[in-house]
Symmetry: C2
Subunit: 536 residues, 2 copies
């Protein structure tokens, strides 16, 4: 079905893409030397011949056959997302749950026809955008009650349909990936400017379904705020909201769709708010001796109404793991961007906040306009872009490398940070019998609190890597919920976060969602197990 | 039940408050001389003795009796909100639908007890905040299926419970009115900074229930964005969301409550985002020869990422009606505010935008720091504060004076503006046989479109004022929906906008809301007729 480069089924990106040998060696050396984390298994990438797929239980009808494939590569590719447990199971060659059919609808009529067919056949239907879910959102683990599983890959519905530069809005199909939609917007002089880390391999529909968080740290962080209207096809019919810049007419219909994670319908298109392309930019890096001290500076900037494009802090452990520091300092990266006007005045005020809170310049932004490419900020930026490739190196060595993220109000931040960090260290110790490396950064910052983003590395016993990951995941998720945080700030709920999502969610709201599901998806075929438990 | 000044039951504010004789005479003279709108009826304010109330059908049980009153003043006061049809019916002494009981809960346990009692008795329960609804949101017009009507006035639950200055957030009870909550926040150096025109006589719970729009024209316009969490008591139980600065965990539970208009539950308290008190301010007034030309300048400012506190344009008709202009120009008021830093740089960029788009200074903001108190901007500001008092003067004279507001993307704005304005003029002509005055301003402006706010005045035939108003309302609402706008940008749906809200709302979302209602309010007692039709 594909004419261009093939996606890897065992990790991030296209076949042939990945860490360079030197980056790989540097990563492994840092983990070993700095943190004593040594991989012990040397699993090879599974070939298609290695993988035993179950016989397909579904056969698409003649009318839909041209949209469907049952080729092994396609079934394997759609068997997993990009989570740590997904990676462990890939290298363990556990493909028993592979979808029976992968369908590529070309338009809304195809989506409707596929949904009708799945409903009639009692098959589960998994909406699949770019497959970048790190929470089991597209992993087709469904219960035995279904006659089979079809995955609906939206990548053919990838066009920018209309661009309204006057209103700064564009209508885009749900299957458009980041680079595709930005390429189509560029000739119009506008940009959606929503850059999640998964940008290359995630779609507008996926962003809306998962309440994606972009690269920008303040103001319009979540896709939620960029949605002007949305069209969703459900088994019960088509639901399209009115295209409006603002409204006060009842609860927002869009806000039911935003975050629905493929469990209520498939997002086929949306009007989204775009912006003028950035012409003015200033980035600065600052060093702090302590993460909590740096957090104080973030708070000051976030509460000053400056709305920087970025105000990220990265602790010493994360810098060291990624070769961007020696572990002795916390880095802050602040940047301002504008399509319309120079941003130096804004940066000047932010820099004052930082110096007031004990920060010291890493690279001087006034004399080095491309400061973000230099110093620790530049080194971390390079590592950030490579990060998704790390896992396919580490998993086969038996090294668990995972992240999780939350949000918490400032008054509870310090105790939350310490308790979650300590719980993660403790869980690694208990699950693996060894010390791990636990780090933290802020991905986003609000006037009322930050979004702390934790990462951890540890060496697992090869024979029970999945169980050890699960044990750690349980403990850190318990700590997040106990500390008052959200189980996810922008990674979504998927299958992996369900138990904690259900603890976080007001029970009555869960009941309302279950009733929405029953109405919109009466046979319960859409992404079963996500958002609404089958028992509800 | 009240110790302080009594509220008027026939109009806006407290007894004794209202237009001065000179302001009243000036308003009437302008309407007569400029627009030929002459009042012909001279109705007196109805006294309590004039008003015939039906015998109460409900008797509160002993346990609840201390919370309840059936005094005529209270029943009369809670018979209406502040809409034009409410006012017409008040002066026509139509109180046949008065609530049987008015209850003042002191805490959540009281709210639960009152809800249980109403449910058992089959009585409708109308949540009542400040009573400022201009859309029939608190007018207890319910169908005959109910055994009676109780209005639940939240004004005793009016405390600020906690202030977290570190996170810039406060927990406030739903019944707190604007001045009350600001007074309690002030000693902490913070402000909610949400100033709807109804500020004095509306409550936090009411703002959340109706998706209130504040005074500020950009960025955080709706209360939606200021809600950190919310607690709602429903007949099915209590629903409280987690207090978070941001989240990506499923569809937002808060966004179901925001805009629920008392039909799903009663908002008892919420954590809201507060800000530092404003220390720096700059306001400027500009004149344009044409409203559409001025709209172009608003678009430029809204798309420049400057986020002014205000960027309001008011057309010549509205200026003239309010004694702030001679009708020959459109006024723009731009202001910037900050708690942290001088705002001159921001104003400088905005002023350039304005001059580029053909605006001319009204009062020079650089030399006159309190420019908003001078010139046409100052005159309009004074009139804006008085506006809610106009109606009690005009209604008894048979002059209809009403407003409605919408939002529309920029690409459709000009045709929307002309078609709605022309439809309003035409509807007035057809309903009354005379010309009226139709004006427009922008209350809010987004990068992707403005929120046009229309006002109109016309002389009605006294004997059928309500029918004429209804005819005009139908025509303008049809035009708003036909033009692609929302039936309300911040006034809410209430009873008056239901037919158009149902046309605007995606039908499947309407079904989901109906299922939410059935679950949360199984006996359908809460604000019947609002948001969810009884037939659904």
């Amino acid at each position: 079905m594909r004419v261009s480069k093939r996606l890897k089924y065992w990790g991030w990106g296209y076949e042939g893409d990945g860490l360079s040998t030197s980056d790989r060696d540097a990563l492994l050396a840092t983990l070993a030397v700095e943190y004593g984390i040594n991989g012990s298994r040397t699993g090879a990438v599974p070939t298609l011949d290695d993988i035993s797929l179950p016989r397909p239980r579904l056969t698409p009808p003649t009318g839909l056959a041209p949209l469907c494939t049952q080729e092994p590569y396609e079934r394997v590719l759609h068997s997993f997302g990009q989570s740590q447990p997904d990676s462990i199971r890939i290298f363990a060659r556990e493909f028993g749950h592979a979808p029976d059919v992968v369908a590529y609808p070309r338009n809304e009529a195809d989506v409707v026809a596929l949904m009708d067919w799945a409903g009639e056949r009692g098959a589960a239907l998994i909406p699949f955008g770019g497959g970048s879910s790190v929470v089991g959102g597209v992993t087709p683990d469904v219960d035995d009650g279904f006659s089979g599983v079809a995955t609906m890959d939206m990548s053919r519905m990838n066009r920018v349909l209309e661009v309204d530069t006057h209103s700064r809005a564009a209508r885009i199909q749900g299957g458009a990936r980041g680079p595709e939609l930005e390429a189509a917007l560029k000739p119009h002089g506008v940009t959606l400017r929503h850059f999640p880390q998964s940008f290359q391999h995630s779609t507008l529909g996926g962003w809306i379904a998962t309440r994606s968080g972009g690269h920008f740290a303040t103001l319009y962080t979540h896709i939620d705020d960029l949605v002007e209207n949305v069209t969703m096809v459900t088994p019960a019919g088509r639901m399209e909201s009115r295209r409006l810049p603002g409204s006060g007419a009842g609860p927002s219909p869009d806000r039911l769709v935003v975050g629905s994670e493929g469990s209520l319908g498939v997002i086929t298109k949306a009007w989204v708010r775009v912006q003028g392309r950035v012409r003015f930019k200033a980035t600065a890096g600052f060093r702090f001796s302590d993460f909590v001290q740096a957090a104080g500076a973030v708070r000051a900037i976030a509460q000053a109404g400056l709305f920087p494009a970025n105000v990220r802090i990265v602790d010493g452990v994360e810098l060291a793991v990624n070769g961007a520091g020696d572990g002795s300092f916390t880095l802050m990266v602040v940047s301002f961007e504008s399509a319309d006007r120079p941003v130096e005045a804004w940066m000047g005020v932010a820099a004052e906040c930082v110096l007031d809170h004990g920060g010291a310049p890493d690279v001087d932004w006034r004399s080095t306009p491309d400061a973000h490419l230099h110093g620790a900020a530049g080194a971390w930026r390079d590592a950030f872009i490579r990060m998704p490739y790390n896992r396919e190196v580490l998993t086969p060595l038996g090294i668990i490398s995972d992240t999780f993220e939350s949000a918490i109000t400032w008054d509870r931040f310090e105790s939350f940070y310490r308790s979650v960090r300590d719980a993660t260290r403790q869980a690694i110790r208990e699950a693996t019998g060894q010390e791990g490396a636990v780090s933290c950064r802020f991905s986003h910052a609000y006037p009322d609190g930050p979004a702390p983003y934790f990462a951890f590395h540890c060496a697992a016993r090869p024979e029970s890597m999945l169980e050890q990951w699960s044990e750690i995941k349980r403990a850190v998720s318990d700590a997040v919920i106990a500390g008052g945080g959200t189980i996810t700030h922008h990674h979504a709920v998927g299958r992996d976060h369900m138990p904690w999502y259900e603890r976080q969610r007001p029970p009555l709201f869960g009941n309302v969602l279950a009733r929405a599901k029953t109405h919109l998806d009466p046979h319960g075929i859409l992404n079963p197990g996500v958002l609404v438990s089958s028992g509800e």
